[in-house]
Structures are given as structure tokens and as C-alpha cells.
Amino acid sequence: MYSYRVSGLEVASEVDLPGLIPGDPNAAPDVTICRAVVPKSLDGATAIGPTWQRADGRFLMHIPHVARFLLEGGQSIAFESEDDAELQDVAVFLSGSVFGVLLHQRNHIVLHASAVLVGDKAVLFCGQSGAGKSTLAAALGEHGYSLVADDQCAIEIGADGIPRIQADGRRLRLWEKSISELGLDDRRGDPMRNRLRKFYVEPVAASDAAVPIGAVYALIEIRGQQEPGIERPNVVEGTRLLVANAYRPMLVHRLDQREVYFRAAAAIAATSGIFRLKRQLGFNEIPATIATLQAHWEDIGLTDGAP
């Protein structure tokens, strides 16, 4: 068995999952992953999507020609590969898309975000695929800010009322174009899939502890003459932004988890802040965006904006 720690959970897996941080092999696993026969449909399914079915505490996911995954009670994932798919192909979806659904199934607050360390706090950048989350985190890495998480950020509200994110020490996942524009070719690792030009990239430094949240930014692209900058939305808008930036907002609605996200938004608003970061998309704009962020971190008292 392989042991990993993913979003604060101990994971015991029958298969190697590249890009995850090692866990404690002696700890009782929160989640087990194994190969098994997985049905093509679920008995008593109450909701059926184009690639998934849901019945009580079970979730069936199907990635055609790659694998079927059965998630039960947020505690186990069984998978059966299809059409002689390579294990590498199964593993990237398992540790990304499938695990994200499992976190939702466990009622965790999980944002579609990357995060870096500023002082002793985590700063999150939320957005849809293609919004520039990983690229911004990688660029900040070059300025000395350690990577906390990439793509998925699981948030926990402690007994002290402080929201923290679980570091998952994942390697960065960047497209060839981003890697070359940011000058990271020397740290480029394996392709995530042999057929894709998207690669693992070693971060300069990574954090592996749970970190209190310092700020959450929703990445907003502006065009033309619109003014770049950082805005603080009101509480209602901030809550809406947080739900919209859940890893899978559709599951927040279907699993009736809005209340959990409302509480998280209130806790973040009270202890740090939810903001909109409006900027032009493009590699040339990144230095200006970083300067804007550093000035904002000084304003809101994040250790003078230093790494």
C-alpha cells in the first residue's frame, strides 16, 4: 500500500499517485483506494449526469476509456480501468477530479484555488480552469512565496473560529507555454499524462502544515480600458463568490451544502477577507499583478507583504 496525505486526510492507496505528499503508513487511513470490479450503473440512482450517478452515499464516476470510480461514504474509492488505460492516466484523474468529488461527499469546504504562503498565512487564488491560478502561484514562488496547494484547497474552521487550509504540497501543474514564459524549464518534471503537454513542476518551496487563511482572492479577468485592482465585495457578494468558487459548485447545490459555505464565508470575512482581484490576463501583466498584491498584503497587515 502507498500512503499519502491529501487535504488533511490520510490516504491508503493500492496504486502509486504521483504528485501527492507522502502520508503516515502507520496511521489509520481516512480514505482507501483500491482496484475492484466497478458497476456500470448504480441501483436506485437518484441523480444521473452525463458521466456520473448518485445513490444515497454512493457516487459513480465514469471517464470513458480511462476508468470507472465508485466513491462510498467519502471513505473509499474503488476503480476499474477501461480499455487497457495506462495507470498513469487513471492516477491523474483519481488524485484530482475524483478526490475533489470525495471531499465534497465528506462535506468538506473545498475551493477551486491555488495557495501560497505570505508570512505565516495562506493566500488563496480562486478561479475556473484557465483563470491563471497555478501560473500566478508559480510566479509568486519565484518571488519566494512557498506553495501551499494547487488546484484544490480544503478549508477547515478550527474550534478557535480560525479558518485554515490544509497544505497538500502538490507539485505545480503547468502547461508548457506557462513553463517557458515563466522560465521554469529546469524544474519541469514528468508530463501529467504522456499524451498531454501539461507537466508537474517542482515548486521552489512548499509548506506541509495546516495554515491560517490570510486572504482569498477571486481571479477576475478584465479587458480593454477596465481598471485593474483589488475590491472587497460586501458580505452577501463575498459569500456568493465563495460558493461560486467551490471545486464543484453543482455538488454544493445538489448535496445541500450551501450552509457550510455560508459559515465558511462568514469566518473568512471575520478573520481575513474575500476579495476580487481584477487584472488583465497575460504573462506580461504578472509583474504588475504581483506588485498590486504585495501592496495589498501590506495594507491588510500580512507581514508587510514579505514572503
Binding site: 449526469g49 452525463p50 458521466t51 456520473w52 464516476m61 471517464i63 470513458p64 476509456h65 491523474v92 484523474f93 484530482g96 477530479s97 475533489g100 468529488v101 475556473q128 480552469s129 484557465g130 502547461w175 508548457e176 507555454k177 506557462s178 501529467m192 499524462r193 499524451r195 498531454l196 503537454r197 501539461k198 478584465i222 479587458r223 480593454g224 480600458q225 477596465q226 464543484r248 459548485p249 453543482m250 455538488l251 488583465q280 490576463l281 497575460g282
Partner: protein
């Protein structure tokens, strides 16, 4: 369940204009709808985020061909009303969805747009290719000659790069002729043809016919108001004031001239001849009169 209708077009052929007209038709305000808040139509069919939300799969880890194989299932799912915020109160009588994809098949032989499972029909917008050329060049921030080459290239795609992530999926356009031919010749769903020039000449009548095709009988005064609120002057005014989020990043403006026949001043004789040579058959079929005489050899 409300019907789904594709708004299919080669770029720069009046698709966005029609969508803004629809937004104004169903707006309850007495001022023009904000061009950056068009809520009456879905996002473009090739958008990445709705796919990821509906499939729960991170499409950035899929190849273009793998994505294409799953697109029909997502279109059928959306057409079944499952993605509406409130299927019992859909707000609009028709789900209109813009598409710049030509009507093509996946490598398994299934229509990417999912045939009759994906939509009840399609409104196909076409525009004189000689006018498309200069508008497309402006849109793509390239020379008119390059735009003409792309219009004649059946392999040209939007968002086809494999070294980066685009927020839209690869869209096969099949060239200007191939695009129109693919939609007109498919036999899966009914198609209603709208020529940009006709819509410009008599907007209320052409819009009315298109809406009736989609099963909508609009209130005549609401339609007149929508036509006025979607005038080119108003669209240009709004874009100058606040930008247009659907404009390409490099383009200086999206709503350029909004007229027909501008090619007579904008294109050289050689450029006109090249377009007419590349697209002779479909131009004839759509009623666009060619100006240059072509020899048998050139055809």
C-alpha cells in the same frame, strides 16, 4: 422542459447581435440591456467550465479528442433541462446556445452537437464572406489576407493549441464554406437560415421569423424595442464605455461597423477574387452575387 436552439455561425456574422436582441426582448427594463450581462442565452457551446461542472471531470487533463467524445453527452444533459437553476421556472421560453463549431462528427462517428438529443433546431447565421473577411481580420488582429486564408482553410480551428489551456474547447470551423455546408447539409435537426444582410435590411421581420422557428411569438412592441436597444450605435456606445467581455483580448473593438457591402471599399480586387474563388459554390447557394468573372481554370 424548454427547447434548446443552437445559434450557429461562422464568426462575425450577426450571432452576438441576435443574442443581444434576445436579451433585450426578455428584459423587463426600459433601458438597453448591459452587453456584459446577457443572461437570456447560455454561454457558448464550446465553453470549458460548464463541461467540467456537468461531468465533474477536470477537462484540462483530457485531450481534445477525448473531450469531443464526451461533448454530445453534455449537450444532451443540458438540453434535458438539468443545468437550469430552476427547471420549473426557466425564465425564458427557449434555451438559445451560441456555437462556432461546424457540424462535425467525433472520431466514433457521433455528431459533436449531439443531433436531436442536443437541440430541437438551429438558427444558422451567414454573412457575405467578403464582409466577413475584414471583420474577421479586425477580430483576430491579423491582416485581411491572413483572414482570407483562414476562411479558406478547412483545418483552421479556434482554441486548437495543445501547449496551453484555453477557456474554450477546440472548435473546428471547416472554413467559411465548410461551416455553412456542414449545418445546411446535416439531416439530424431542422435549420433556419438567417442572412446578416437581410437582418440588417429588415431586423424586425427577420428576427420575427427566426423566433417563430424557435417556437416563440414575441409581442410586437417588445420586439421593436429590442431591435432599437440592440442597434449598432447602442452596442458601440456600450463597448466604448465599458468594454465587451466576449471580445478577443487583442481586438480593439468587437462591434466594428455593422453594415453590409463595406468590402467594396475595404478589399483589393485580388482579395475579392480570392474569396470568390474559394467560396464560389456556397456563395451562389446563399445568394451572394460574385463580382469577378472566373475562368473554368480558376474554378
Amino acid at each position: 422542459m424548454i427547447p434548446t436552439i443552437w445559434l450557429a455561425s461562422y464568426p462575425k456574422s450577426g450571432n452576438t447581435w441576435f443574442r443581444i436582441l434576445l436579451a433585450n426582448l426578455w428584459s423587463k427594463r426600459d433601458t438597453p440591456a448591459d452587453i456584459n450581462l446577457i443572461e437570456s442565452t447560455d454561454s457558448i457551446a464550446s465553453a470549458r467550465n460548464p463541461f467540467d461542472q456537468q461531468t465533474l471531470i477536470d477537462s484540462s487533463l483530457m485531450t481534445n479528442d477525448e473531450i469531443d467524445r464526451l461533448r454530445p453527452a453534455t449537450y444532451a444533459y443540458a438540453a434535458s433541462g438539468e443545468t437550469l437553476a430552476d427547471p420549473d421556472d426557466p425564465c425564458f421560453p427557449v434555451r438559445f446556445v451560441k456555437a462556432h463549431d461546424a457540424y462535425t462528427l467525433t472520431d466514433r462517428g457521433e455528431p459533436i452537437m449531439a443531433g436531436g438529443r442536443g437541440a430541437a433546431g438551429a438558427i444558422l447565421f451567414v454573412r457575405d464572406p467578403r464582409d466577413v473577411a475584414s471583420s474577421f481580420a479586425h477580430h483576430m488582429h491579423c491582416s485581411v489576407d491572413k483572414a482570407i486564408s483562414r476562411m479558406g482553410d478547412s483545418d483552421f480551428c479556434f482554441a486548437g493549441a495543445s501547449d496551453r489551456l484555453d477557456r474554450q474547447f477546440r472548435q473546428r470551423l471547416l472554413g467559411w464554406s465548410g461551416f455553412a455546408r456542414s449545418w445546411l447539409d446535416q439531416r439530424d435537426i431542422p435549420v433556419h437560415l438567417v442572412r446578416y444582410e437581410d437582418m440588417l435590411a429588415d431586423t424586425p421581420a427577420i428576427a420575427l421569423a427566426a423566433l417563430r422557428f424557435a417556437g416563440v411569438e414575441p409581442d410586437p412592441s417588445a420586439l421593436d424595442r429590442a431591435v432599437a436597444f440592440a442597434s449598432i450605435d447602442e452596442l458601440q456606445r456600450q463597448e466604448a464605455a465599458g468594454g465587451f467581455r466576449e471580445a478577443p483580448r487583442k481586438a480593439t473593438s468587437f462591434f466594428r461597423r455593422g453594415k453590409a457591402g463595406g468590402w467594396r471599399e475595404e478589399l483589393t480586387h485580388e482579395q475579392v477574387a480570392r474569396i470568390e474563388r474559394d467560396h464560389a459554390a456556397i456563395m451562389d447557394r446563399l445568394g451572394y452575387t460574385r463580382s469577378t468573372i472566373q475562368t473554368e481554370e480558376e474554378r
